[in-house]
């Protein structure tokens, strides 16, 4: 079916699905109008089917070309906005990652420092312990001549205090006592049992210190069991009945 634009009189070739009364936009002048099934269209078809088709074909490609490029232009703009929104979170994430890495590096460095300190202390101890025994392993020139000179370790000991190595010697001592302290804990438990025998309580049971007995004998003469301290006593609770 064909119809003409009421504004620019362009003859339009319509698809079969478009019926009369439907609103369409003229591709040439973009005027919106309702399709009319005009008798003149039939004459127009006869007269200038090609001419009408030609301009229509020429104009149609132009319009789509204008519209699509416009859309394409707008689309890139929209896309350009989206990338910005995407870039910001990415940047934030990158910052967080960098921060995490920095923290990890700092922690690792700290550990390394601690380890290095521990190693240093151990190395100091290892260095110093040998000098006390024999020759100066600490690398101090003063120590080496001393062992070489005299076999007496006593000479080394008095001079070694002046060396910086002595304080570290004390440090190794600290861990040593701590380790022994763990085993000593059991002893306290074992120690409590011994006290009872060492410090007997006054009582009437075996193992107790016998309570004092003070009284008078058959003849009303006063005496006490403590008078016989230093002797083995056989105490006989008796009666004649």
């Amino acid at each position: 079916m064909k119809c003409s634009c009421p504004r620019c009189d362009a003859v339009l070739r319509l698809a079969d699905s478009i019926r009369a009364g439907k609103r369409i936009a003229c591709p040439s002048c973009q005027a919106v109008f309702r399709v009319r099934q005009e008798p003149s269209s039939a004459a127009a078809i006869k007269t200038s089917p090609i001419t009408t088709a030609a301009p229509a074909s020429e104009e149609r490609p132009e319009l789509p070309q204008r519209r699509f490029p416009l859309r394409k232009r707008f689309q890139p703009k929209k896309q350009s906005v989206n990338p910005a929104l995407i870039v910001i979170p990415i940047a934030v994430g990158a910052m967080l990652l960098i921060g995490g890495v920095v923290l990890a590096v700092v922690l690792v460095h700290n550990k390394n420092k601690v380890d290095s300190v521990a190693k240093a202390s151990t190395s100091n101890t290892s260095r110093e312990s040998p000098p006390q025994q024999n020759s100066g392993g600490g690398g101090f020139p003063g120590i080496r001549p001393q062992p070489d000179q005299g076999a007496g370790p006593g000479q080394l000991v008095p001079e070694s205090p002046g060396l910086p190595g002595n304080p570290p010697v004390e440090q190794p001592n600290f861990p040593q006592p701590t380790n022994p302290q763990l085993p000593p804990q059991p002893p306290p438990i074992t120690q409590p049992p011994p006290p009872p025998p060492s410090e007997p309580v006054i009582g009437i049971e075996v193992g107790n210190i016998a309570p004092e007995i003070e009284g008078e004998d058959i003849d009303r003469k006063k005496f006490k069991m403590g008078d016989y301290r230093g002797k083995v006593i056989l105490l006989d609770f008796w009666g004649y009945w």
Binding site: D217, K231, V232, L235, D236, G239
Partner: protein, 103 residues
Amino acid sequence: MFPHERSLVKRLEGKPFVLLGVNSDESRKELKAVMKKEKITWRSFWNGGRDGPISRQWAIRGWPTLVIIDAKGVIRHKFTGSPEGSVLDELINELVKETELTK
């Protein structure tokens, strides 16, 4: 019982040992007669009966009760009822030896 105690006292005369009694009779007069008769030469506390203060302090529930106390005053053995004389001798001899060695 009395014969063994007599022999014990006699045997350990001069040793660091003493036999002390806690008598729970109720009559001094009767007890004196018994001591004379049984030749009981060792001293006894007068408890004034089985419910006397000394037997109560020591929670004595049976007679005789024998207690062996070492030279330091520590109770080493306790018998309710009279043990065999040989057992008593052995324990006392051991403690007397111990006391003599520490002196």
